[in-house]
């Protein structure tokens, strides 16, 4: 029976805006070791940053007594990132942002993080934790998604 190689890296962030950059840098370093191209690493960095910002702001509500867990699992051909917070998780994924509605004041100018996450990685899913805690977003970026 062949074994699938997997390497895991974990980071814990304080629930303070700005610390998402620690997760970005860690994810970028792991992706670089795995051989991802530079443009895909930039996609991953933005997706990870937005996932961490959501976890800090909405999941943990900026409560610095809570931390955000980031678990990176490197497989043979993909990198999975789980960003875990102590929130109840999402009720629904918000609709795709509409720039025309934003410019005309019909939609909040904010609220683009989840759209960016979905657009920049190959898989994104939001999972509610049991007992209303330890919810997470799971991102996957694949090595075969190379730039033209």
């Amino acid at each position: 029976m062949s074994k699938v190689k997997s390497t895991s890296v974990e980071v814990r962030l304080p629930s303070r805006l700005g610390y998402e950059k620690v997760a970005m840098s860690t994810a970028a370093a792991v992706a670089k070791l795995m051989g991802f191209k530079e443009d895909r690493i930039e996609d991953l960095k933005t997706a990870v940053a937005e996932a961490c910002i959501n976890a800090i702001e909405h999941g943990n509500r900026l409560n610095e007594g809570l931390s955000v867990g980031v678990v990176l699992s490197a497989g043979d051909d993909s990198l999975e990132v789980k960003v875990i917070d102590d929130g109840k998780g999402l009720k629904t994924v918000p609709p795709r942002p509409d720039i025309d509605r934003k410019i005309h004041g019909e939609e909040d100018p904010r609220g683009m993080g989840m759209f960016l996450i979905q657009a920049l990685v190959d898989e994104a899913e939001w999972v509610k934790g049991s007992n209303g805690k330890s919810s997470y977003v799971r991102l996957v970026i694949r090595l075969d998604e190379v730039s033209e």
Partner: protein, 119 residues
């Protein structure tokens, strides 16, 4: 942890003879950048600054909160009859700005010279 956002205003004239107000940003553009981004823009004379050019060439990190500040600026510019352009975004952030639709309301150029030639 965030690099403070700095903003500087330059007033220059395009080769076509149009006055252009350039907002040069430096550092991160995130939720903490409201004063630097919107405050600097709002301090401009809406009558004098009809062409506004945003310089992102020294910005390394922009997140969705920072993009929302740019969109708020575009909303105000649209209401004031100003036109907004930008240059100096990395290829990645050019892609992100395009994905969220900003290019519909702000022309993006690779370099300042490209923008000035078009204004």
């Amino acid at each position: 942890m965030q690099n403070e956002t700095k903003a500087r205003v330059d007033k220059i004239t395009s080769p076509a003879g149009h006055p252009v107000t350039v907002l040069r940003f430096e550092g991160d553009i995130a939720s903490t950048s409201k004063d630097a981004v919107l405050g600097t823009y709002q301090a401009l004379s809406k009558d004098a600054a009809k062409l506004v050019l945003l310089d992102f060439s020294k910005v390394e990190y922009i997140n969705s909160s920072g993009i929302a500040l740019v969109i708020q600026m575009l909303i105000e510019a649209s209401n004031s009859g100003q036109k907004v352009y930008a240059f100096g975004l990395s290829p990645h952030f050019t892609k992100v700005f395009t994905m969220v639709g900003i290019t519909k309301y702000a022309g993006l150029f690779p370099r300042e010279a490209d923008a000035m030639a078009a204004l």
